[in-house]
Symmetry: C2
Subunit: 235 residues, 2 copies
Amino acid sequence: MSHRFFVDEDVGDQVVLSGDQARQIANVLRLVAGDQITLVRNGLESVVALEAVDASTVRGRCVRKQTAGAEPRVQLTLALPLLKGERSEEVIEAVTQLGVSTIVPFVSARSVVRTLSAAKRERWTRIARESAETARRGRVPTIAAIAEWPALFERLVAPVIVPWEGEALKTLAEVLTPPLSTLSLVIGPEGGIGPEEIQLAWDRGATTVTLGTRNLRSETAAIAAVAQVMAILDR
Amino acid sequence: MSHRFFVDEDVGDQVVLSGDQARQIANVLRLVAGDQITLVRNGLESVVALEAVDASTVRGRCVRKQTAGAEPRVQLTLALPLLKGERSEEVIEAVTQLGVSTIVPFVSARSVVRTLSAAKRERWTRIARESAETARRGRVPTIAAIAEWPALFERLVAPVIVPWEGEALKTLAEVLTPPLSTLSLVIGPEGGIGPEEIQLAWDRGATTVTLGTRNLRSETAAIAAVAQVMAILDR
């Protein structure tokens, strides 16, 4: 399987890559003229035969275009509380592999971490891009700007599902009926979701579900919920 | 909800704790006579009213015993390849919260990391214990001794399921029919599972499944597969 790179512009017949991608192709992967790479943009894969490779410029010719086969049928938005330390990065990596389309970082009343620096958001975007390449996806998930709990619900595409420890009965399998083209999942912060917050979520039409009887940390809940959603909706 | 501690002996009417647990109760949690804690062993919870607290000895009286409510119906064994860096620890934490009973670390032909020191296995056992407390479980998962690929299949309880990138059709939901009292899941190493290895797994009766079209890292595959198994079998 050829190496994959996301690109920011549409791919024409003749391809020129520079910067980090040229350096990686020439110096890290040590590819040469005749090798093939795959350039990916907006769900479309362009297979490119390399014609000239050096560390500053890589030239090639597009030999085939095809739809990326690994994009899920559902556009899943994950609202993820800011987590301590490296925990957010682990989640972004895992849920990108599993197929999320958009990640909306948020803070709520009980959030411990409350700010997201521009540098950190940029780092998360880079992690999402690298994880999407590893997963052989056709799109890079968007890391959205940070939201606060009430405004969060105005930015989420319906239906909105909130795994919540106070919900004893309804499971994801029971509330999700395929096919669904969009879905939003809201994961609670470490301190939990407060009663007024859950009331606001219900008022905005959200459905609460249980992820089971065991108490999950936010990062485990996020990965487990996304895995379950994809198993149900992307078959 | 009261603080939980796993203990290594059955709990009688009178309770005496010492060592780390006494120190944590007295100095970290700052509990006092009259407070309640929960001692957990082999799926049984003993609610204990504290009568005397100091950093070397904590004394109390058992006021109630109950079955732990958060143990899954299925005894799930997870065969987990040794992973680089802290990746194994992240997986042990997450899958303990999600409900695994036993973790069997293993190496196979393409494994990059090939040894597990006694110190590391002890550290993993401690992580499993702490994660089981956080998750409010009734049992601590066992971290088994390391296995090699062929011998691995002699140690796994049937049925044995292997998520594998070469399997295009069968999903976990299709091959698992509740109720099941035992199940083993085998996660491939970073380098993948080789053709002779998958043949051996089939020869020993294992079933291969797909986790979807996206290429998952081992740690994501482990957490996602355990989450799906619990959603299907622990309802």
